[in-house]
Amino acid sequence: MIQVTNLSCGIASSPILKGIAASIPAGRVTALIGPNGAGKSTLLKLIAQQLTANSGSITLDGVEVSEIGARKLAQKMAVVAQHLTVASRVRVQDLIGFGRWPHSQGRLTAEDRAAIDDAIARFGLSALRQRFLDELSGGQRQRAFIAMAFAQDTDWLLLDEPLNNLDLHHARNLMSRLRSLAEDRGKSIVIVVHDLNYAISWSDHVVALKDGQVAFQGPVAETATAANLTDLYETPVAITQSDGRPFAQYHR
């Protein structure tokens, strides 16, 4: 479990996070939702130790994240950032291979190679494995980076808006893959999403942020109500039923 206590970040005149307290359960898919600028990405980066907080603590299974150490943390937690600008020409299979770096430090074992091949196959990248990253479309590149995080084979997988560049086929595939990672292999997934329907239909748990504070959090079924979501986005959101599943209607 990731426990966030009294976490603040940003400068005094423009705080990004204001004393956040949240808990993210292990073995579940947790959706991080909220309007633009609410602090979702910042929270994710703080958890991943890519930013330093002003105050507060983040613990992973009771241990302060900042005390775990870079290599250990990379074996426990993988992060896929939102902006994946690439300036160098690396092949898809080499990129995914670097996902094994925390385990092998560059000396790939048979186990590493199997993990790489598995990630390539799972994300439909077999035909692209020899291609350079700068020759791919935005969505293909995103899949390559997600596959790298997948090959990293960590207990925790943090993704910042992974659906951004994906078509609906690959978006749904990714969500179902993340779901099965949690259900079948006990992995914990944290994902920043904007599409409420992806959040509602695939995640177990929700942490909603607004203006640097937690608006609400808890199991999806209890917290993702029309009233809560309407307040969160200051936009009318209706929850209807579609094929026996909740469906968020906010488009018009």
Binding site: V90, Q105, R129, F132
Partner: protein, 339 residues
């Protein structure tokens, strides 16, 4: 051939293995070409040298040992080390258009050398070299801070800013040199050439070669760092340490080369870009090719320089400058989208 369950798996494995074999073949070919060039280099020069002369004439043997072998070694070491320094710089700055010549590194090394010559003229070359290295390091560090403020969407601004910055440093150096009557030193450091290389006057370059070799052990780290800070940290790489190691390597190599043979612009830029286009930036694969191509091209330039105006010489840096500028323009105009 071992059969694995599922024919697709076999096909998947054949791809990368096939390309790896191709890479190995081209590396072997490149190495053989390099050896051939080196042999040619040993026998080309103002002083005619033939195999029969080597057998009978002790003076010919002296020319070989004192001049030709050191010169050839110096060219190979310089070319390889500069190309390696260039590719490291490009990965760390995450910009294809930087090299020690466009980041103020060379000019800062010259300033350091000038300061050492002025303030402690009796200092041994190695000590001056150290001062130049520290100065190059400081100059590169300032450039890195500068580059960080430039938005990554404007990749061409970084080398431009670097050129302006280097120009400023050079102007300072020129001013000091004029005031102190040391302008001819500056001229020597600014034009890379190998005609003055003799046994006993190039050995520092082995250090540059050693540094390039050392960099190969961190090839994966540099490649990962080239993917950016976020990815590096996610993989548990000590990004700051890799950055520091890279900058120290680049600065030392630049200082060593500037002091021993002089500036060789474009080499660190053109060679890595050519290799990157063909085989990408995974240094584990490409670094040996980068080093070999850098050494080979510079040796061709040096041999041409000895032959074109025989028995006079044209500096290798001048010839490479013409070749490099052309390729640089081509890369600049032809590849904007990938910059």
């Amino acid at each position: 051939m071992k059969f694995l369950p599922g024919s697709r798996k076999v096909a998947d494995l054949a791809g990368p293995d096939g390309s790896r074999a191709r890479v190995r073949n081209s590396v072997v070919l490149a190495f053989l070409l390099l050896c051939l060039l080196a042999v040619i280099s040993l026998f080309v020069g103002a002083n005619a040298l033939t195999i029969s002369a080597l057998m009978n004439d002790p003076q010919a043997l002296q020319v070989l040992i004192i001049s030709r072998i050191p010169r050839t070694a110096a060219v190979l070491l310089t070319g390889a080390a500069l190309a390696v320094a260039g590719v490291i710089m490009q990965l760390l700055v995450r910009n294809k258009f930087v090299e020690p010549g466009t980041t103020g590194t060379n000019e800062a090394a010259m300033l350091g050398m000038l300061a050492a010559t002025l303030l402690a003229p009796s200092m041994p070359v190695f000590g001056k070299m150290l001062v130049a290295s520290v100065s190059a390091l400081a100059g590169t560090a300032v450039f890195m801070l500068l580059a960080r403020r430039i938005p990554p969407e404007r990749p061409l601004l970084i080398p431009l800013a670097g050129l302006v910055y280097g120009g400023l440093l050079l102007a300072c150096a020129t001013f000091i040199a004029i005031q102190t009557d040391l302008l001819q030193y500056l001229g020597v450091w600014m034009s890379g050439e190998f005609s003055g290389i003799l046994a006993g006057r190039y050995e520092l370059l082995w250090l540059a070669g050693g540094l390039a070799l050392l960099a190969y052990f961190a090839a994966d780290q540099f490649t990962i760092a080239g993917l950016g800070r976020t990815v590096s940290m996610n993989l548990g790489l000590r990004y700051g340490q890799v950055l520091a190691f890279g900058i120290v390597t680049v600065s030392l190599v630049s200082a060593l080369v500037v002091v021993t043979v002089g500036m060789l612009p474009f080499l660190g830029l053109v060679v890595p870009n050519l290799v990157s286009r063909i085989m990408g930036d995974n240094l584990r694969e490409s670094l040996p090719v980068v080093a070999a191509l850098g050494a080979g091209l510079l040796l061709i330039c040096d041999i041409l320089g000895r032959v074109l105006r025989f028995p006079y010489e044209i500096p290798a840096g001048t010839i490479f400058g013409i070749f490099g500028a052309t390729v640089f323009l081509y890369l600049l105009l032809g590849r904007r989208s990938h910059a």
